[in-house]
């Protein structure tokens, strides 16, 4: 049997809104994935370092401070620089619709705006991060 999918739930930036990150972390764990939560206020460098150290299949990034257009591309850039571009970067937060396309173009695999059902995110992770597990 394939190993379980491993996900890093990350809070980058300075804001402390962790309700969404924690709810998603629990939902992913209840779906049978291994979940590591970084805690708050991580720099992009810390997030990528943790992702590589923990050998995760995906990073779920939560940003509610309005800094998503800075933080998502920066983390993607660092992943590519570390030769870890196979780690699936996805995330959500207070992200207006018009920012979704540019984020996807910057290499973010999935952007989930407010009100997205947890099941949608679980399905996404199973499908996209599952590829890396080979399940």
């Amino acid at each position: 049997m394939a190993r379980p999918i491993r996900i890093l739930v990350a809070k980058a930036g300075l804001d402390g809104h962790d309700r969404g990150a924690k709810v998603i972390a629990r939902a992913l764990r209840d779906a049978g994935f291994e979940v590591i939560y970084t805690g708050l206020h991580q720099t992009p460098e810390q997030v990528v370092e943790a992702a590589i150290q923990e050998d995760v299949d995906g990073i779920g990034l939560s940003v509610l401070s309005g800094a998503h257009m800075t933080l998502f591309p920066r983390i993607k850039e660092l992943l590519v620089g570390e030769g870890a571009s196979d780690i699936v970067l996805f995330g959500g937060g207070t992200i207006p619709n018009e920012d979704v396309k540019p984020l996807l173009a910057a290499g973010v695999a999935g952007v989930f705006t407010p009100g997205t059902p947890m099941a949608t995110i679980v399905d996404f992770v199973r499908r996209e991060c599952g590829k890396r597990v080979g399940a």
Binding site: L14, V35, L40, S65, P96
Partner: protein, 568 residues
């Protein structure tokens, strides 16, 4: 209310026509009819906070409630019906819209606009770097400058923020916590430059660090030194800024983090009691500082539950302050509070629906006797509000105030079987939590143990699952969904704001006497090693042109940096 006295004398009766088993005529018939009828799909037997509900409340639910002891008259202990004898009959609540974005100059323009539209107090939202103790040009501030609020790094920024606004005439609320003493020092220095002495300043500082560790998660130092800074501010203000509300003890963020109404109530009041204990332990007389403590609650969507929460909060605070902390000044017994409608209840889908949510939430705050109110704008789920949406939110309050008539009668829901029962239940639920917190050794040990964080995470996950399962309907999200063409227009904070602000901070540092600044920072750090009150040193630093980031950093070698053990 006369039934209640009767009920006390005759536990099983209320003076109405009774059958042999003590039931009121008609009660059995109603029960039978109710049980025979089908239940509407979606009818819920619990409040949004998971509190059990009955389909009907009656005189039996007032058993044990004594009017004089538990409700009394407005302006009288235990203040369940309101803290003033006249409430909105003599003065409406303060309409105080939280605002702040971009640079100090941009926010200053918004302040002038809001004042011109009839707003009666100012409320400053700071950006994340200012809230966390970083200057705008710090690497960790990248992408965050001016986004969640106004960027303030220097005394010059604070002066620009209040340009053309007489600080002797306006009251200002500042939502800032770990950097609160710096913001206060900058505000005092700005006022002095305007020729307004500190004694004339009126306003509120949030400065509630306990709820930061519990819910909002903006911190620099660990809880213990943070409590010392707060007691220093309380002591300083009681002497030098007597009209200032030194702490706004906040449940708002606890609720936004996903708590229930009872948790919001209990954790907030527990924090309040912890500040009172800290003040007393620091040698202050409870009546010297307690009258300046104020509160800040959330207005969520479960209408009656929220009203009961505010009423219970007043009663609990009065009882503990008088009986437990032996306060003698009635002003120490009264719980004054600001309310903001629940940001977490707003939806990105069909965003215009948020206008209606906000109106009902705001109405609950008014029926609950709030002293001031912020109504959220419909677009706040996605961005800071546009000017147009901020105006609409203010108009919502004006319609409640001037058209609905709800302010003409004091505590209009007092005596409602349902509201009184919920109020009593809220109080009992909060008392249970106080016991559990005491068993853990108090609020700070409970924070270190992750108690609050876990309770809130459990509640928010339960709520989210109810929405996912369709057990709870959120209009436009999991029912009544419609395809949406275009999203509403949002306020954009240009990247140029960050660049401009960073340049201003650099220029500020270059044009000052650096030695003077360094010496002031060193004096602050040295004072932190002793028991000396830090507030005069914060003022000294600000006037010596130290920046917010430099002042915050200066105390890290003394106090250390807080790190939370992350729990999911």
């Amino acid at each position: 209310m006369s039934e209640k006295k009767t009920t006390k004398r005759q536990p099983h009766g209320n003076g109405a026509a009774h059958g042999t088993d003590g039931k009121i005529a008609g009660q059995e018939l109603w029960q039978a009819q109710f049980e025979a009828a089908p239940k509407r799909p979606g009818a819920v037997d619990r409040t949004i906070s998971d509190h059990p509900l009955k389909p009907l409340y009656g005189p039996e639910d007032l058993a044990g409630v004594d009017y004089g002891r538990d409700l009394s008259f407005p302006g009288q202990y235990p203040y369940t019906r309101g803290i003033h004898a006249t409430m909105y009959r003599s003065r409406l609540w303060t309409m105080r819209q939280f605002a702040g974005f971009g640079t100090a100059k941009q926010t200053n323009e918004r302040f002038h606009f809001l004042l011109s539209q009839g707003q009666t107090g100012l409320s400053v939202a700071f950006d994340m770097p200012a809230l966390m103790g970083y200057d705008s040009d710090h690497p960790r501030a990248l992408g965050e400058v001016g986004k969640c609020g106004v960027a303030i790094s220097t005394l010059q920024d604070m002066q620009d923020l209040f340009a053309g606004i007489d600080l002797g005439r306006i009251s200002t609320s500042m939502t800032i916590n770990c950097t609160a003493p710096i913001a206060l020092a900058m505000y005092i220095a700005t006022a002095e430059a305007q020729g307004v002495p500190a004694e004339r300043l009126s306003g509120t500082l949030q400065a509630d660090m306990l709820k930061e560790y519990i819910a909002q998660k903006e911190w620099i130092y660990p809880p213990e030194p943070s409590m010392r800074i707060i007691t220093d501010m309380m002591a300083y203000c009681s002497k030098h800024v007597p009209k200032w509300n030194t702490i706004s003890i906040s449940g708002y963020h606890i609720r936004e983090a996903g708590s229930t109404a009872v948790q919001e109530l209990a954790f907030t009041l527990a924090d309040g009691f912890a500040y009172v204990e800290a003040g007393i332990a620091a040698g202050l007389d409870v009546d010297d500082f307690a009258p300046r403590l104020s509160f800040f609650f959330n207005a969520h969507s479960d209408f009656f539950e929220e009203i009961a929460k505010y009423r219970a909060a007043r009663r609990i605070w009065a009882r503990h302050m008088r009986d437990r902390f032996k306060a003698r000044n009635p002003r120490s017994w009264t719980l004054r509070f600001h309310t903001q409608t629940a940001g977490c209840s707003a939806t990105a889908q069909q965003a215009e629906n948020n206008i209606m949510r906000v109106a009902f939430q705001a109405l609950s705050a008014v029926l609950g006797g709030t002293q001031s109110l912020h109504t959220n704008s419909l677009d706040e789920v996605l961005a800071l509000p546009t000017e147009e949406n901020a105006q609409l939110a203010l108009r919502t309050q004006q319609i409640i105030a001037y058209e609905t008539g709800v302010g003409n009668v004091i505590d209009p829901l007092g005596g409602s079987y349902y509201v009184e029962k919920l109020t009593s239940d809220m109080e009992a639920g909060a008392e249970d939590y106080f016991e559990r917190i005491a068993e853990l050794g108090g609020v700070v040990p409970a924070i270190h143990a992750g108690f609050f964080q876990k309770e809130i995470a459990d509640a928010s996950y339960r709520y989210q699952r109810e929405i996912e399962s369709g057990e709870r309907i959120i209009v436009g999200v999991n029912d009544f969904v419609q395809e949406e063409a275009e999203q509403i227009a949002l306020l954009k904070i240009d990247r140029a704001v960050e660049l401009e602000q960073c340049a201003r901070v650099k220029a500020f540092r270059e044009t000052r006497d650096g030695d003077l600044t360094k010496a002031a920072l060193a004096r602050l750090a040295a004072a932190a090693e002793t028991d000396e009150n830090l507030m005069p040193h914060y003022l000294d630093c600000v006037k010596s042109k130290a920046t917010l980031g430099e002042i915050s950093e200066a105390l890290v070698p003394v106090f250390g940096r807080y790190r939370e053990a992350a729990v999911i």
